[in-house]
Each structure stands twice: as C-alpha cells, then as structure tokens.
C-alpha cells in the first residue's frame, strides 16, 4: 500500500478548489500529471543556485549545470534500463522524439515502396509523422485494426508484416482506451524479420516499470510532463545500433565538432541530436521526478493505479446508459466512456462545475474514433495520488449528469 496522505501532501495543487469552492478531483492524468514539491523545488533551486548554459562554460556555474544535466542522462539511462548513456536523447516530449526518428531514421531508411506498420489506436503524434513520411517517400502506411474491445490481434501483426516493412510503431498504452498493448510480442515478431520497433511510451513511463533492454525495443519515446516531471522535456531512447546510422535532425550550436563556411562535422553521440540550448531546468526537474518515483517504487505504483483504474471501470459500468469504450484485458490507468445521449463535452463541463477534471473529445486519435463510429469520449485517468473515494465522487457526479439530461 501507498501512504496516500503523505503522497498527497507532496502535490500542492491537489488542495486547489474551483470557483465555486469545490475541491479538485484531478482525473486528467493522461493529459498531464501533477508535479510534486520535489520537482518544483528542484527546478526553482536550479534557477536560484546553478543556472548556466551547459557544455561550454569555463566558469563554475557552467560546470555545475553541465554536471546536473549529464547526471540526469545517466539517471534516465538507469531508469529505463538502457545500456549506454549515449542512447538517451533529450527532446521536448514524445511528439518531438517520434518526429526525430521519422526525420532522421525515416529519411535514410525508408524508400519508395517500403511499408511502415502502426496500430489503429495511435495518438496523432505516432500516426502523422509516419503518414507524412510515407507520402513523401512514396511508401505505404499499414494499420493494425483495433477490436471492439480496444485490442490488437497479434496474428494480424504477423500477417501485416511484409518483406517491405521497414518499421513498426506502436503505443505501449493507448491514451484513448487504456489498453496495454502486447509490445513485447510485437517486438519479437518484428525482430524475427529484422524490423526495428518504435514504442510510444507516453502513457506508460511513470505508471509502471519500463525496461527498454528487456523489451528489446529499438526506439522508445516519452514525455516528462506525463510522469510527474516538467513540461517541455522528454526522452527519446535509440538503441546503439541505430544511433550511429542516424544523421542529425536539427542543426546549430551544441551539436557540432568543427565548422567552416562550407562544411561541418558533428559532435559525438548523443549531442549531435541536441541542437541548441536545451531545456536544462527541465532535464534537472525530470531527474527529480525519477528520484521521486523511485522513492515510492514503480511496482507499487503500477499495482495501485491499475487496481484503482479497474475499480473505476467496474463502478462506472454500473451506471445505466453509460458505455465503457474499450474493454481490454490489460488496462492501464485510463477509462473512456460515453453516455448514449449525452455529449462528452457536456459531461466534462458538468463535472468541471463539481471540481472534477476529466478530458472529453477525440484525445488526438480521430481515426480511431471514426473507426468506432463515435465523435469522442469522456476519459478519466488516475495516478497514484488518486483514491477510491475520488472515484466514488466521480460516480455520483456522473449519475447527476444523467439526471440533468433525463
């Protein structure tokens, strides 16, 4: 068990109220998670005491800031079980991480007639980069279908991999349906055919232990702000074997070795992928989030949040006229639902008046919504600072929503 009282005290925002004085019930963790004091204070302390640019300062602040930045890279390496520090590239978030792979790996490894395989439940950020790359290269995008339960079929993965498939990209956990995808199996299948796999880990990291080494994925992208860290920072893991083949993604300062008017040679890995001054405070804050997660324990976090989210799915499914959208066998911390006759935005507005924060809409998965024939869903997503009492509050509020429209 977690010590919830203690944990909630670490998150000052959880004591907020809305305009009518209703206590915040924050169930929009899939959009972004809240930040503990440990992260907030670390960032503040960085600006107060260590702020400097990195990798170029001769002065002591430059040395300290560089050390904090590079130590966090090691921390991230250990956190996700990577073998090498060079495999950790700091980016703005999952979106930028995937775009980096599409631009760099994609431009060198995808050509006319090649195929890229993704699932039908991908977030736009793991769909559009591939769609546009395919269009640009006259390659093809193949889609693994999503069942009415919100799952993919592993046989279909095998059958959709062809000799022309050059990359498989799949979300670890679906942000719209909560499905935990069988990424290990997908990776094994793809690797048997020598095809690299990118995993979009935006909804997994921080909610369960993630080990890129045991997954054996080739690319793994995630966002700091969805794992209790700051916005503006994320991580792209690239397996060493692909790293050395990839050309830089952006050009400028911090990523070069030597430059003439005619030519440039690039810095060592991973710096050649980090052009310009990075979000140094963000990186340091991300390190604090990792420390915080370790202090609670990711196994405990996983057990707690999955239990809570199952409780939520079960409880909400007892409300008349409410459908749970996506009934996967393995569910992360997310539950999507719809009322027969009530629009998700009306649901979210009524909950908002009661201090309950959820998300309504297509969740950046428009094609998935179209394939399920729904315009969107209401989505409630938990973190380890939520509890069953808050789910009960949600449940009562949803019954009130139903009453308003009856």
């Amino acid at each position: 068990m977690l010590s919830l009282t203690q944990i909630r005290e670490d998150f000052p925002i959880l004591s907020r109220t809305n305009k009518s004085g209703e206590k915040l019930v924050y169930l929009d963790n899939a959009a972004t998670t809240q930040k503990p004091n440990q992260v907030i204070d670390t960032i503040s302390n960085f600006y107060k005491n260590h702020n400097s640019n990195i990798h170029r300062g001769i002065h002591f602040l430059g040395v300290e800031a560089t050390e904090l930045y590079e130590n966090t890279r090691k921390k991230v390496r250990d956190f996700i079980g990577a073998n090498h520090t060079e495999e950790i590239i700091f980016v703005r978030g999952t979106t930028e991480g995937i775009n980096l792979v599409a631009s760099s790996f994609g431009s060198s490894s995808i050509t006319v007639g090649d195929r890229i395989l993704i699932t039908g439940m991908e977030h736009h950020s793991n769909l559009i980069p591939w769609q546009q790359l395919a269009r640009q290269k006259k390659a093809h995008l193949d889609i693994i279908s999503v069942s009415s339960n919100g799952e993919i079929n592993i046989e279909e993965v095998s059958s959709k991999i062809t000799n022309d498939t050059k990359l498989v990209a799949i979300s670890h956990i679906s942000n719209s349906l909560g499905t935990i995808n069988p990424v290990e199996e997908v990776i094994q299948i793809a690797h048997r055919r020598g095809i690299p796999v990118l995993v979009d880990g935006a909804q997994a990291v921080g909610h369960q232990p993630v080990n890129v080494n045991s997954l054996d994925c080739d690319f793994y992208a995630f966002s700091g702000h969805k794992m209790f860290g700051p916005t503006g920072i994320g991580v792209l893991y690239v397996k060493e074997e692909y790293l050395s083949q990839m050309s830089p993604y952006q050009f400028g300062g911090e990523m070069i070795r030597s430059v003439t008017y005619e030519d440039a040679s690039f810095a060592d890995l991973p710096h050649r992928f980090e052009a310009g001054t990075p979000d140094i405070a963000g990186v340091v804050g991300l390190g604090a989030a990792i420390d915080y997660l370790h202090s609670i324990g990711l196994d405990k976090i996983k057990a707690y949040t999955e239990d809570l989210s199952l409780y939520m799915a079960k409880k909400l499914s007892t409300i008349e006229d409410l459908q749970i959208i996506g009934k996967p066998q393995f569910r992360g911390s997310i539950v999507s639902f719809n009322f027969d006759q009530i629009h998700p935005h009306d649901v979210a507005t009524i909950l908002d008046e009661k201090g309950i924060a959820i998300r309504a809409g297509h969740h950046c998965t428009m094609p998935l919504m179209q394939s399920m024939n729904i315009p969107g869903t209401s989505r409630a997503s938990v973190a380890f600072y939520n509890d069953k009492n808050e789910i009960d509050i949600l449940y009562e509020a949803l019954k009130a929503v139903k009453n308003i429209f009856n």
């Binding site: 305009k19 935005h345 009306d346 507005t349 908002d352 297509h362 315009p375 969107g376 009453n403």
Partner: protein, 142 residues
C-alpha cells in the same frame, strides 16, 4: 445539483437538445453550409434558401453537444423568414451578450439561456458555432 449547473443547462437548452427544431437534412437546399468545430468534433450542416434578402426554409442537421445543438436549433426558429440584416443585428446583440456586455432588451429571450456559458470560456464556441458559420457565409457572399 448546484444552482450554477441548473442555470448552465437551462431548461431551454435541455428542451432544444432533446427536441431540436427544424432538425432535418435538405439536399436540394440552395445553400448548404458546414459548421464544424475541429476542437470538439461538433459538426452541423445548415440548409437554407435565400429569396432576395430573406432567409427561408432554414434547417440544420448533424452532431454536437447540448449547447451547440440547442443554439443552432434556436437559430433556425428565430431566423427563418427573416432578412439578412435582421440576422446580423441579432447576431451582434447575441455576441455582445456573450462577451459580457450589458443586456439589450431587444435580444430574443431564448438566447439569454446561454448567458451562464460566459463562465465557461471553453464552451463559447459551442454557442456560436452555427451563428458564426452563417455569418462567415454571408460575409463571403457580399
């Protein structure tokens, strides 16, 4: 239920939501325009004819939240058979109300049901969806 909520989903809104007026497709309408909000996916079509300057046979169809649907429904009941200038006038009055300006007694009463939405800036676009697309169309026809 908080009073706030009661007033946000005013009975006028709930009534037009469950029983929208002039809610029908008409493929042979002279004009069919789309009202689409990409943020929430609300999507209606407005069907109407223009006889000179008069809006006629105005109907709508599509999908949206209670607020956008009821507002579009009220739009059709208020403006069918009205002159374009009258639409512009009412639309201006309505936008004034929604931006929190003092009430003008010439505004049709049904529209006042939407004033509580002012407290939810994210939902104002729902109220104005149908109105904005008609305005845009009329501007482009000028």
């Amino acid at each position: 239920m908080s009073d706030n909520l009661k007033s946000l989903y005013h009975e006028v809104i709930l009534k037009h939501n469950s029983d929208p007026q002039n809610f029908k497709k008409r493929e042979d309408a002279k004009y069919i325009i789309e009202a689409y909000n990409p943020v929430c996916g609300d999507q209606f079509k407005l069907y109407f004819d223009l006889d000179g300057n008069t809006i006629s046979n105005l109907s709508f169809h599509g999908y949206g939240c209670a607020i956008s649907k009821s507002s579009a429904s009220i739009l059709t009941t208020l403006l069918n058979g009205k002159k374009v200038e009258e639409f512009i006038n009412i639309n201006d009055l309505f936008n004034n109300v929604l931006s929190g300006k003092p009430l003008n007694d010439k505004i049709p009463e049904e529209l006042l049901a939407f004033t509580p939405v002012i407290a939810h800036p994210g939902r104002i676009k729902c109220v104005t969806l149908g109105w904005d697309s008609l305005t845009e169309f009329l501007n482009s026809e000028k």
